[in-house]
């Protein structure tokens, strides 16, 4: 954030593919195609069967049907249905029998869609030293990736301008992690960046609804609700 020379290294982003309601034959095909197509894909795809996942691959038995399920908030859904059964245009579809090229094309298309958030290890943009930031709109799900830290950081950036140090202090998120997130946001065109004027009051357009509340109050509210954050 001080304008030092930066290097950007790219690490293949990891994406988790959750397979559901697919036959053993289709499961074996997906695993094989992912293994063969590893070099061609931009991201590092792994198949998961429980826990959090990024993309859902769902086998359908009827055209247009979407099975009910619990949990999971996928970034995208790929439906697998028998060829000629009609396409549910609301959701991306793959026809059975699964074809290597079709699967790789579908995954590549998703990778391009998610390409707003490659893994970065340094700040791609140099901000002024006393820059303050404010979000103009809530970030995309692709960028947040269901990450609690990112969701919290974005919340701190919604109501008024805030500097990097203050953001790290209030959120209890490490400063480099805050900086990386701000850098990501800066690539989306949704982050307002203002160079602070020395000794000027912090610009704020938000109104204080409850002037009696202070930082201690919020800490005790969080503690009372069992919201432990770092």
């Amino acid at each position: 954030m001080s304008g030092e020379a930066t290097t950007v290294s790219h690490v293949k982003r990891k994406l988790r593919l959750h397979l559901r309601n697919l036959s053993d034959h289709d499961l074996a095909k997906v695993n094989a195609f992912l293994r063969i197509g590893r070099e061609r894909l931009q991201c590092d795809w792994s198949v998961v069967f429980d826990g959090e996942f990024d993309v859902l691959m769902l086998g359908l038995e009827e055209p247009g049907a979407v099975l009910g399920m619990t949990g999971g908030s996928p970034l995208a859904t790929l439906c697998v249905a028998d060829a000629g059964t009609g396409r549910n245009d609301a959701v991306e579809s793959l026809a059975r029998p699964l074809q290597y090229e079709a699967l790789l094309d579908a995954l590549s298309a998703l990778e391009n869609r998610f390409a707003a958030a490659p893994a970065l290890h340094a700040v791609p943009r140099a901000f002024p030293p006393d820059a303050r930031f404010r979000l103009l709109r809530w970030p995309s799900a692709d960028l947040l990736q269901g990450d609690r830290d990112r969701q919290r950081l974005a919340s701190f950036l919604l109501t008024r301008l805030v500097g990097l140090d203050e953001l790290a202090r209030l959120s209890h998120v490490d400063k480099p992690q805050c900086a990386e997130f701000l850098a990501l946001l800066s690539t989306t065109g949704t982050l307002d960046v203002v160079a602070a004027v020395p000794e000027a009051p912090l610009a704020s357009t938000a109104q204080a609804n409850h002037p009696e509340l202070d930082a201690n109050h919020f800490a005790s509210i969080r503690h009372g609700l069992g919201l432990t954050w770092r």
Binding site: L56, V66, L67, G68, M69, T70, G71, G72, S73, P74, A76, T77, A90, V91, L135, L136, R137, W138, P139, S140, A141, D142, G146, R148, Q151, R152, A154, S155, F156, L158, T159, R160, V162, L170, S204, A206, Q207, A208, N209, H210, P211, L213, D214, A215, H217, F218, S220, I221, R222, H223, G224, L225, G226, L227, W229
Partner: protein, 177 residues
């Protein structure tokens, strides 16, 4: 000792999980005003016609009062009454309903004069069953109105998801002090 009370309101269409969300956080059995539903199109046995009320005791003389509004449009007069002087508003949406974006717009209209200054979070439920509309489409709807609030996919049966929504409300409130 006088108790410092804060109010968080849960609003949203019928079946979005308001009562469940309050039950997740309340230390007392929630007060509910559910009656038998006569609307055959609603698909629910009971419906809230007054309000839901719960309370989370924070200790140190503080508590958070949790209110839930009735979901159906004919009770929109209750929405404003209940939301008055609230620390924050959580709008819950059921993504399996026929038109969740239209539902969302209804609540944005109802709270239009409060939203520029209230601390608000939006929880989109059942996205696993119905991934469309996407969470981003709800954010876009807010942006079209010049608004920016947290929009999160949630399962209100999970306490950590409800707490996350409340945390984002608290964060916004904290930033206004």
């Amino acid at each position: 000792m006088a108790m410092t009370q804060h109010k968080i309101v849960f609003s949203g269409p019928p079946g979005a999980g308001k009562t469940t969300a309050i039950a997740m956080l309340s230390d007392i059995p929630p007060v509910v005003t559910d009656v038998r539903n006569t609307d055959a199109g609603l698909g629910k046995e009971l419906t809230t016609v007054g309000l839901d009320f719960g309370q989370a005791d924070l200790g140190n003389g503080q508590c958070v009062r949790l209110f839930g509004t009735p979901g159906q449009l004919r009770f929109d007069f209750m929405w404003r009454i209940i939301a008055t002087d609230a620390l924050g508003l959580v709008i819950l949406i059921d993504n399996t309903r026929p038109d969740p974006l239209d539902d969302f717009a209804t609540y944005l209209d109802a709270y239009a004069d409060l939203l520029p200054t209230i601390n608000c979070a939006v929880g989109i439920g059942r996205t696993g069953e119905c991934p469309l509309p996407t969470v981003d489409q709800f954010s876009s709807l807010l942006a079209e109105r010049g608004l920016a609030f947290p929009v999160l996919p949630v399962d209100v049966r999970r306490r950590e998801d409800v707490l996350m929504l409340v945390d984002t409300v608290l964060i916004q409130a904290e930033m206004r002090t």
